[in-house]
């Protein structure tokens, strides 16, 4: 088991390096950091420009990209990060806040989705073909088919705009983490502001997990070993939990790990529409400004999260399904 994990972990660093390199190339081509810098700082001195190019690793030419990548990488690892193009500010403090906000939003929604989605999926699979199965299945299908921005806009309309019109106040606010100008930490306000975004993200999450669990459990329930388990004379409860669920949870658990890994980056649409200051919003703003120094660290966090959780998903899968380990 440990050997398996180590074998997979060895690939971690090379994968990260290759992917960040590709992203580096793509961003350089797409956002043209030198031009952006020039545009924001019109009368920049050559010395400053050179310094900027050096810290960001923006050398030109074929090998320039490779040299440049390692220059950037060195700066990144030694925590000598260049400042942003727009506003020339330190990247990490804002990135950190954005990360915290996204984690809050994403994890609450994902956990909600996992719990409710799985319960619904189990309920549906236990009575296939009956009413509750049809309801869960169709509901999930609709939930998946409705694009998140639609539900986001609808909820915004309903709760913020129209509620305001009908009842004279906004039940759930539609933007930000706190009302404008608020300082300090206030749990109630924070939750109020997160309510709508969480619902929007949860809808998709619940839909996905309910379908997944339903399919997985149905597969398991139709397996031969269920009959063997029953023939032992153990309680039906034990049959369902110890035999059926134990097997059905394998693919679902893998999915959950992958889901968590991509949670920080997957909220862009929702955060954009609700003006929620998370990682998604951070990206949209930085991207709109073509802000290379802000985009690269952002990418590293996202990529790192995805790669690490992919690895964890693989290990979890091997832990849960003994057939994989010897393959």
């Amino acid at each position: 088991m440990l050997r398996y994990a180590l074998r997979r972990a060895v690939w971690l660093v090379p994968t990260l390096l290759i992917v960040t390199f590709l992203v580096y190339v793509a961003l350089r081509l797409g956002t043209d950091p030198v031009a952006s810098y020039r545009r924001t700082n019109i009368r920049v001195s050559k010395k400053k420009l050179d310094q900027y190019i050096a810290t960001n690793g923006l050398y030109t030419g074929a090998f320039g990209y490779i040299r440049g990548y390692f220059a950037w990488l060195w700066g990144f690892i030694t925590l000598d990060w260049p400042r942003s193009i727009k506003g020339s500010r330190d990247v990490w403090p804002h990135l950190k806040d954005a990360l915290a906000n996204s984690l809050r939003l994403g994890l609450i929604a994902t956990v909600t989705g996992i719990i409710i989605g799985n319960l619904l999926g189990i309920a549906a699979a236990l009575r296939p073909g009956r009413l509750r199965d049809t309801v869960v299945n169709s509901g999930a299908l609709v939930g998946l088919a409705v694009p998140p921005f639609v539900s986001a806009l609808l909820l915004q309309l309903l709760f913020a705009v129209y509620w305001q019109k009908w009842f004279g106040y906004a039940l759930f606010p539609v933007s930000g983490v706190y009302p404008a100008g608020h300082q300090g930490f206030n749990l109630f306000l924070m939750l109020k502001h997160m309510a709508l975004p969480v619902v929007v993200v949860s809808i998709q999450s619940i839909a996905v997990y309910s379908r997944y669990m339903r399919a997985s459990l149905l597969d398991v329930l139709n397996s031969e070993y269920m009959r063997t388990a029953r023939s032992k004379g153990i309680s039906e409860r034990r049959v369902l939990v110890h035999h059926a669920l134990r097997n059905a949870l394998i693919p679902v658990t893998t999915l959950a790990f992958l889901d968590v890994g991509s949670v920080v980056g997957g909220l862009i649409i929702t955060e954009g529409l609700f003006e929620y200051p998370g990682m998604g919003r951070f990206f949209l703003v930085a991207y709109g400004n073509g802000d290379f120094p802000e985009l690269m660290p952002w990418m590293v966090i996202i990529i790192g999260s995805v790669v690490v959780f992919n690895l964890l998903a693989d290990i979890a899968y091997a832990r849960l399904d003994p057939r994989i380990r010897l393959a």
């Binding site: 031969e224 070993y225 009959r227 063997t228 849960l320 010897l326």
Partner: protein, 323 residues
């Protein structure tokens, strides 16, 4: 002696979109302690369904009527709780495909322990020791090592041994073996049959051997029940059955066995009947070379003809004449 398994007028039907399928249409059987009964028939004859119904392992779309008692405890028409209490304790079952019949994510030892702890009051450690013992009884080498392994680490024959070990864990009075060797190689088949025989002798367990393979029946069974279209059509001691079968279906089965002194294989013509609307009277009628009009209203009771009991109303007549 009291039979360990006593079935009376067992009927099983299934609700399907195409209609109601009458899978079992009145089966009677008594199994004495320690005897081996071979139940023979084609697919669709109702041989597996009969015993699955006694164990309560059929899907909810099945309707079961009649009576089946296991060491005196009724299994039909009683609460699920009652059926479950006997399952795995007094009556156990082993199935055809041991790979898919074992849960792939639990160790073998744990699966046997589960069987033990469901019906006996034993600590985990004791149950585990007993499990290793059982694996030894069925002839698994290095049972202590094997107990900690997973099903996919075993070969087909070994897995079937595990299934047998699991089934006998609580010393059942009846063991139902549903085509246990069908999925195995011929050489392994012989080994498994030996294991079952050993187990039977050691624990004096009655065995109901369900199969379509007459060769297997010849080897292991004391008695034979031949089933066709949901009924028993003939029964008798194994030697008598093979020597002088009296039902045309049994005769057909024996005649279709390949043997070195036959020139062409002689299959039984036709195919099994549609069980939604089976033929009236004797269900074998459409395929029987000796069928007469009277067969359309023939009862399904078994009558002693010579050394076997058969449902064929013309058996005496045909036996007396040229054969």
């Amino acid at each position: 002696m009291e039979p360990v398994l006593s079935i009376r007028d067992l009927r099983v039907s299934f609700k399907t979109p195409a209609g109601i399928v009458q899978a079992v249409r009145g089966v009677n059987l008594d199994v004495a302690p320690g005897e081996v009964v071979g139940v023979v028939g084609e697919s669709g004859s109702g041989k597996s369904v009969s015993f699955l119904s006694i164990m309560g392992l059929l899907p909810p779309s099945a309707t079961v009527t009649g009576s089946a008692t296991v060491v005196g405890t009724q299994m039909v028409g009683v609460s699920a709780q009652q059926v479950r209490s006997q399952r795995g304790k007094k009556i156990a079952m082993i199935f055809q495909d041991p790979l898919s019949a074992l849960n792939p994510v639990h160790r073998i030892g744990a699966q046997i322990v589960e069987m033990i702890q469901a019906h006996q009051d034993m600590s985990k450690a004791d149950a585990h020791a007993r499990a290793v013992e059982l694996l030894d009884i069925v002839g698994l080498p290095q049972p202590d090592v094997r107990a900690n392994q997973y099903p996919h680490e075993f070969s087909g024959g070994m897995r079937q041994r595990v299934m047998i070990a699991m089934a006998i864990a609580n010393d059942p009075d009846v063991l139902i073996a549903d085509e246990p060797t069908t999925a195995l190689d011929v050489t392994v088949q012989a080994q498994i049959l030996e294991v079952i025989e050993n187990v039977r002798q050691r624990l004096n367990t009655a065995v109901v051997f369900i199969t379509h393979d007459l060769g297997v029946v010849a080897r292991v069974a004391d008695r034979v029940e031949v089933m066709y279209a949901g009924n028993t059509v003939e029964r008798g001691l194994v030697n008598d059955m093979f020597a002088t079968p009296h039902h045309p279906y049994t005769q057909g089965l024996l005649a279709s066995l390949p043997s070195h002194n036959k020139e062409r294989l002689k299959p039984i013509l036709g195919s099994p009947p549609n069980m939604i609307s089976p033929p009236s009277g004797c269900a074998f009628r459409p395929r029987c070379a000796h069928a007469t009009d009277a067969c359309a209203s023939a009862p399904s009771d078994l009558v002693q003809v010579g050394s076997t009991q058969t449902a064929c109303i013309r058996a005496v007549e045909l036996a007396g004449g040229a054969k």
